[in-house]
Symmetry: C2
Subunit: 304 residues, 2 copies
């Protein structure tokens, strides 16, 4: 497959954008990528490590010749960026994004785009606990899923080209409507992150157990939570504020189940606990079989 | 360091016992290890893979010559095993265990042991999501912590020898009283496991999102929970039933914090969320620096 777009602009130069850059170059070095970050320090790092063919000092310069413009900024500022770039986009260009919520992004971005560009929102379901321009790597999207979320009236060819683009940088793809997308990610990503943040906060706060005890004895389970609770705070604040309804729905279900299990512990209902714990093993097997995780013990972490 | 015990008996042949066997042999092949499992099928597998120098068909035969007897069975049956082996222990032998709770094990086991043996409870803080006799490996305890929890009147030399034993198979060690132990593990292990089980159960149950969606899109956070939610159901049922108070206390604190964060989402209090998410990053850094986890993205999982 040839490069679906000749010129690509990345707005925001964090984990996802930098991984997209390296993955695009892996697929076809001839693609020309411009990049922009609000912070001068980030732009300096990008220039230093060769991230993007040109790092620009203005949004207008970044986007004006691009065939594809990808918004890789926190969900809460996508509307502002769209307002700024809207008047300067090339006719026929495609605007996309990598935000973890979709309805709120569509509501914020769509009104600012001229009618002669295509808007095709997307969400690559991949990430690590690291952030910033140095954190990207070409393999991030390999065998992960990118959800393409067309808006009403999206041009079929523009949707197909963006789909081909994500496939070219390693992803599997699926199409989904915004509402369902926001519920799916509330379950698979947003609620788990909030729960992990909460558990780590509780451990940090508990006066009777010291932080060094929590840290030293974390290998018995706790440390798995800390990985995702180390993710970028600004990004996650915006995710929760912009996917309120679905996240609160899932957290409501979670609390209900947790109370039922707490009650089983309090009343000594061992059968309820055993049945519940047996059922959850099947989901793990499914994830291994789908190639979405490793079966090596401890995720294949080496003993140190 | 020479082998602290010449003859060791392992009761129960799951992940921990089988890892102890391979770690003992790595340290000093001359140690003689007998093993017993209630299930004939498990004993057959142990014989087939060379797990233990002798796999015995009775508890009495397993323990009668041993200098160290280690109970590696679920917490809920340790009292029964102690009652059965008590009259057959060698004078001067040490009895220990690897249970994840300590006060309940002490209450269940101590009354059955004769006065001429030493009882020194212990808890290796290491594990994987796999179980059974085939799941063990010699490196499981390397640089992990084993908590030694002496009982009132424990012989100082017996405590020291058991401590040396755990060091000889790779562990760091610390001493702790039973009550504090049970609280520390409620935070670092028991509550996180229950929370992971709950989240996986909720995802499995949610009619509007299919299991295949949960599985395919799990890389965005959810899959980290599924690893520990795949752990042995019987072991974990017994853990929760035998560490009720501390687990319920931590879950109470957890729910309180979770409600506060849910409220911040509902009211749009972004500062509260951002502050909370920033604080939790420090704990993660501590765990990396203490060598209890890897800093490689995704735990160093390879893309597949």
């Amino acid at each position: 497959m040839s490069q679906p777009y000749e010129k690509v602009a990345l707005i925001g130069l964090g984990l996802i954008a930098s991984s997209m850059f390296w993955a695009m170059k892996r697929h076809d070095p001839s693609v020309h990528v411009t990049g922009f970050a609000r912070s001068a320090a980030t732009r300096d790092i990008a220039r230093e490590i060769g991230l993007c063919d040109a790092v620009c000092d203005s949004l207008v310069e970044t986007v004006q010749d691009a065939d594809l413009v990808v918004l890789c900024v926190p969900v809460g500022v996508m509307g502002d960026v769209a307002a700024e770039i809207g008047p300067h986009l090339k006719a026929g260009a495609t605007v996309s994004d990598v935000g973890s919520v979709k309805q709120a992004v569509i509501d914020a971005v769509a009104p600012h785009l001229p009618t002669n560009v295509h808007f095709v929102p997307a969400h690559p379901m991949a990430g690590t606990e690291h952030s910033g321009p140095r954190s990207g790597f070409a393999e991030l999207f390999d065998n992960r899923w990118c959800l393409i979320v067309p808006v009403e009236g999206s041009d079929a060819q523009a949707v197909k080209t963006l789909t081909d683009f994500w496939i070219s940088i390693g992803s599997n793809t699926a199409h989904m409507d915004p509402e369902h997308h926001d519920l799916v990610v509330a379950v698979t990503s947003h609620a788990p992150h909030l729960i992990a943040y909460t558990m780590v906060g509780v451990a940090d706060d508990l006066g009777r157990v010291s932080d060094s005890e929590v840290i030293n004895y974390s290998a018995a389970g706790f440390r798995d939570f800390t990985r995702i609770a180390a993710s970028d705070p600004t990004m996650w604040r915006d995710v929760f504020l912009n996917n309120k309804e679905a996240t609160l729905e899932i957290l409501g279900r979670f609390t209900e189940e947790l109370f039922a299990l707490q009650r089983a512990i309090r009343t000594g209902d061992g059968d309820h606990l055993h049945d519940y714990f047996t059922r959850t093993r099947a989901i793990r097997r499914g994830i291994i079989e789908a190639g979405q995780d490793t079966d090596a013990p401890n995720f294949g972490r080496s003993a140190k």
